[in-house]
């Protein structure tokens, strides 16, 4: 039915009204000449039916022979639609361009993610993958996933036990499994729970041993139980063991760096934010200054998201610091140096989504505060007090 409707739409059809004359003769002549009439209905000597667009012109002779007057009432289908909108040629052209663009763009990798490993830095994995040609903007068919996985595992030698590269649509996922010393793995430590290290929204929870105690997608407070190391069997006996797992959470974090005001010395004195638009691997400057690779400062990339899918475009904000010879303002430059180092050290294994900076000056001190929204590992081991310990006193 749908297929028939589709082809009928492509061919186009005309609903007509025929009056006067001899409707029966009209129907017979149509039948003899092979003109297909769809749902012919007679109402008070008026015949209403639908024919294909190409057959409508053949009806004139039939109508003339049967003494009927033809009048087209409705026209349906693509040919009529295109004729009606021929003045707005840009519409179908834009539709065709959009379809072609979507088809071409779907052949590229839009985003590369790293999952599954807490012991190896996400930046390190992605940097290794990028040097092997797996980065946003690369043509999907040019990626040899097996070779990239082997090479990444080789580069992260000793840190990971297995690496896999999965291509899912326009998203590439580097799945990393950490190396676990067999000697350590086999022997479980003291009974322990995993609790939340800070307040946040629990995004994922992988339980390696123990029992999940917090549902994913809910907010947790610092100290809340995430993975329990206590299990009760069917006889009601409690068993204690070491809970293991990985939990990630979304949270807002504040990093504040202070420095006393100096009156002499060189350093950074001018800060400039250079925005740029990144489409796949192409970077387009949005201001007067083009983005560069070598500069003092730090870069934040805000990737556009739509419906939980990372789009192949985003805004790159490069915060650049410049040195001048005015010593009285050098404190701010040194403060930026400190902040950059602290930022990189603190968020080395963290996925920072956005950062906003604010600067305060009070009592001879500069304080640079960065408020970041980030996804971080939230789990912290907390030993279970079994009461077996002997007091030392």
């Amino acid at each position: 039915m749908r297929k028939g409707f589709f082809f009928s739409f492509l061919r186009g059809s005309v609903t007509f009204v025929a009056e006067g004359g001899f409707p029966e003769r009209f129907l017979n002549l149509c039948n003899v000449r092979g003109i297909a009439l769809f749902s012919p209905q007679m109402h008070q000597k008026t015949l209403t039916a639908t024919v294909r667009r190409s057959d409508y012109f053949r009806l004139r002779d039939v109508a003339k022979r049967s003494g009927m007057r033809l009048r087209a009432r409705e026209k349906h289908g693509l040919p009529f639609f295109l004729r009606r909108h021929r003045a707005h040629l840009a519409l179908p052209v834009a539709g065709a361009v959009f379809a072609v663009l979507a088809f071409v763009l779907s052949g590229f990798v839009w985003s590369v993610e790293s999952t599954g490993c807490a012991s190896v830095s996400r930046t390190e994995v992605l940097a290794a993958a990028e040097t092997l040609g797996l980065h946003a903007g690369v043509w999907r068919k040019n990626i040899d996933t097996g070779a990239v996985a082997q090479e990444v595992m080789h580069r992260l030698n000793g840190k990971v036990s297995w690496v896999g590269v999965n291509l899912s649509g326009t998203r590439a996922e580097v799945e990393v499994h950490p190396y676990i010393d067999p000697g350590e793995d086999e022997t479980y430590g003291e009974p322990a729970n995993i609790v939340a290290d800070f307040d946040g929204l629990l995004l994922s929870l992988q339980v390696h041993s123990g029992r999940a105690a917090a549902p994913v997608g809910t907010g947790v407070r610092k100290g809340d139980l995430l993975i329990s190391g206590v299990s009760v069997d069917r006889y009601g006996i409690s068993h204690l063991y070491e809970a293991r797992g990985i939990a990630t959470a979304l949270h807002d974090d504040v990093l504040c760096v202070e420095r006393a005001q100096q009156t002499a010395g060189g350093g950074y004195t001018k800060v400039q934010t250079v925005p740029a638009l990144r489409l796949l691997h192409l970077t387009v400057p949005l201001g007067m200054f083009p983005p560069s690779r070598n500069f003092d400062g730090f870069t934040v990339f805000r990737q556009a998201q739509w419906g939980g899918v990372s789009l192949p475009l985003g805004v790159v904000l490069q915060t650049r610091c410049y040195r001048t010879e005015r010593p009285s303002q050098s404190t701010f430059g040194l403060l930026l140096d400190d902040f950059t180092c602290a930022f990189e050290a603190r968020y080395e294994k963290t996925n920072v989504l956005s950062t906003s900076l604010s600067l305060r000056q009070s009592a001879g001190k500069y304080a640079l505060t960065g408020e970041s929204r980030c996804i971080d590992y939230i789990g912290q081991t907390q030993k279970i007090d079994t009461g077996d310990e002997v007091p030392t006193d």
Binding site: P23, E24, L27, N28, C30, N31, A36, L37, S39, P40, Q41, M42, H43
Partner: protein
């Protein structure tokens, strides 16, 4: 001619309607009549449809009758059928 057809039908052991090219009439309760082997429409109205079936004239009486399909010798008439009448041409 009729005798010749019947002779052929007997010899070929075919069904009578096949050899004599008689129409098939199929009724679906009182809501549809399917006629195969119709040679033309004699009258078409909301209450009455007359069809030339070669050997006889088929008249369908009813309410809100409409031609659902018209494809060569195959005709399907929908609506509320009240009576069916067969008469010689």
């Amino acid at each position: 001619m009729q005798n010749l057809k019947q002779t052929v039908e007997t010899a070929a052991q075919l069904a009578t309607d096949t050899a004599l090219l008689l129409p098939h009439i199929e009724l679906h309760a009182n809501c549809r009549a399917v006629i195969d082997g119709c040679r033309g429409i004699v009258a078409y109205d909301e209450t009455c449809v007359k069809l030339n079936c070669g050997a006889f004239l088929l008249t369908l009486h009813g309410d809100a009758l409409c031609m659902e399909q018209l494809c060569g010798a195959h005709i399907s008439v929908g609506g509320t059928l009240v009576s069916l009448e067969l008469s010689s041409l």
